[in-house]
């Protein structure tokens, strides 16, 4: 009988530092599976963000660079422009991508840089300890919004996939989630499509993944999944926002 389940080659054999119930591990695995399936491990360069995934390079087994906060799309641009043959992806959280790195992601997408961005949206700053993110929901509590996000003072949560899909430059922009098994399967399909577009040299692609942060949300892993389903998904609607011609 053959092996039924094994670790993808693109993942290293290391325990992650992620909290119990965190969905980073799921997305890491999906990315690694796609890289294995496309046979691109030897020419892939990942870019780690600043945030919980700053140490992502410890869990993947291929070349990696570490960016400053928000700057991963600029680094990816640098690599991809000088070495278009490499497969380059950034892996960024919502503080990194939607706050400090807003300029870099918009311009990279608008230039149609041929790399892939995996965007983990869990509506909070994780690594720095639960501060408010641009994606934090109205009324959602955070360490810098102790009574809940006041949208009169801080505006409404930014929907990155919607926003990026408004750019005229062709791209693949999709929002997925990893709260249920069928969502995980769809997310993998989206990640694969995003990498395929890059392999074909077609367009910029971004897969936003609605994720959880039980630790900073102050919920159990199971309650986190339920909370995300109830509070995040109605605002952050899933689906493809833009598909290249």
């Amino acid at each position: 009988m053959g092996k039924a389940f094994s670790k993808p080659n693109a993942l290293s054999d290391t325990m992650t530092h992620y909290c119990p119930g965190c969905t980073h591990g799921i997305v890491h695995r999906l990315v690694a599976e796609v890289i294995d399936e496309l046979g691109i491990q030897g020419r892939t360069v990942g870019i780690a963000p600043v945030g919980c995934a700053v140490l992502a390079y410890n869990y993947f087994n291929f070349d990696f660079q570490e960016a400053a906060h928000g700057r991963a799309p600029a680094m990816a641009t640098g690599i991809k422009r000088v070495r278009p043959d490499l497969i380059v992806f950034t892996y960024q959280g919502d503080g990194d991508l939607a706050s400090i790195g807003m300029g870099e992601i918009i311009h990279a997408a608008n230039r149609g840089e041929k790399f892939t961005t995996i965007f983990i949206n869990n509506a909070i700053y994780g690594m720095t300890g639960g501060q408010m993110a641009p994606t934090t929901m109205p009324g959602q509590r955070a360490s810098t919004a102790p009574t809940g996000r006041n949208t009169d003072l801080t505006g409404m949560p930014i929907r990155m996939a919607n926003l990026l899909s408004q750019l005229i430059t062709p791209s693949y922009i999709t929002r997925q989630a990893v709260l249920k098994p069928q969502q995980v399967n769809k997310t993998k399909k989206a990640i694969k499509k995003a990498f395929e577009y890059q392999v074909e040299g077609k367009c910029f692609s971004l897969v936003e993944v609605i994720s959880t942060c039980p630790t900073n949300w102050g919920l159990t892993p199971l309650d986190s999944l339920k909370w995300a389903e109830e509070k995040l998904l109605p605002y952050y609607e899933l689906g493809d926002y833009k598909i290249p011609e």
């Binding site: 020419r43 990696f64 660079q65 570490e66 600029a74 680094m75 640098g78 690599i79 000088v82 870099e104």
Partner: protein
């Protein structure tokens, strides 16, 4: 090759290509935009990459990404832009990546002005961004030297696997002078298999490479800083360049000056010599590493009674000069930094008042 008449900015651009760098990312800023305007035409001819980034912040990381992928890469900017790039320069230094930054300095602080200045000496030589790092900084005094130093910069960046800066100014960028491009300054790219993130398949070992600057373990971080320090110490042993002007005779005053300002000083020294007044100049060509011993030796020559640092700023390199002279001679300073360059006559007046 015959001499050609070129603007400093264009000559720097061409020098980069002649040195084997065909990757350029930049953001427009006066007084250096001619570099981009030149390269946008030239790089496609060389099969290279030209990209105008959305900001100097982003450009700094485009440089970081390209350098980490093992390619020769350059950007050019001017003072406010270099401030924005300083974050990335800190990361690039920490992550041991070779890259060339050209600063065509303009007056500051703030928006300052667009005329020549040497107000970024501290920023260039003492770090600029956060943390313990240095760039190797070359300060040309004209277009020909800007060409030679730009070409050398790529070799030095790879030798030390770190950022190298050309510290010019608006005059050097805007002025035209005759230049030659010495072919012998072009070097073959170094082997980057041990560190560059250009795909595991490219190297025999098939081991993955990681370019990073985060060391949460205090011992590892300390070790990275010690390794950086060792590079800076090696630079101090191997890379110091300076010019000693009129130091043979019995001079009473030693001028220290760099870049554009040193040319004016040279004219003043020639004119003083005609009047029978001997003045010497020590001009650092590398401002980091600083020619510490040369400055000390020139300042402490028996005939020399005083040292004056003359700069287009409010007194920056003079701090290094004082450090090197170690109290053996009085060290004074003269500088202007509105954009006007002090005239030879002004310098003569100041020197005469000293003796």
């Amino acid at each position: 090759m015959a001499k050609v008449l070129m603007k400093g900015n264009e000559a720097i651009a061409e020098a980069a290509i002649r040195a084997g760098c065909v990757n350029y990312f930049a953001y427009p800023i006066t007084p250096q935009s001619e570099v981009a305007e030149y390269l946008v035409k030239r790089l496609p001819e060389e099969g290279g990459v030209f990209l105008q980034g959305e900001s100097e912040v982003a450009v700094g990381y485009m440089i970081f990404g390209a350098a980490a992928a093992g390619e020769r890469v350059m950007t050019t900017s001017s003072s406010p832009g270099i401030s924005l790039m300083s974050e990335s320069i800190s990361y690039i230094a920490a992550a041991n990546c070779p890259a060339v930054f050209v600063n065509i300095v303009r007056g500051g602080p703030g928006l300052g002005g667009i005329l020549p200045s040497q107000g970024d000496y501290f920023q260039a030589t003492k770090g600029g961004g956060h943390g313990d790092y240095h760039l190797l900084v070359l300060a040309p005094d004209g277009v020909q030297e800007a060409v030679e130093m730009t070409m050398q910069a790529f070799t030095l960046a790879e030798k030390y696997r770190g950022p190298v800066m050309i510290l010019g100014d608006g005059l050097i960028g805007q002025m035209m002078e005759p230049v030659e491009f010495p072919d012998n300054l072009k070097t073959e790219p170094s082997n980057k298999d041990d560190w560059a993130t250009n795909g595991m398949d490219t190297r025999k070992s098939k081991k993955r490479n990681l370019v990073k600057s985060l060391f949460l373990n205090p011992t590892e971080l300390n070790n990275n800083n010690l390794a950086l320090k060792a590079k800076y110490d090696q630079m101090k042993r191997e890379e110091i360049q300076f010019e000693a002007y009129n130091t043979d005779g019995d001079y009473k005053v030693l001028i220290t000056s760099f870049g554009t300002m040193s040319r004016v000083c040279r004219t003043a020294i020639d004119l003083l010599k005609e009047e029978g007044i001997e003045v010497a100049m020590l001009r650092p060509k590398t401002v980091f590493p600083f020619p510490e011993k040369a400055v000390f030796d020139a300042a402490t020559k028996e005939s020399c009674k005083a040292v004056i640092s003359i700069e287009m700023n409010m007194g920056q390199m003079v701090e290094d000069v004082e450090r090197c002279v170690k109290g053996q001679r009085p060290v004074t300073f003269y500088g202007e930094c509105g954009g006007d360059i002090p005239s030879p006559e002004k310098i003569i007046e100041i020197i005469k008042a000293m003796i």
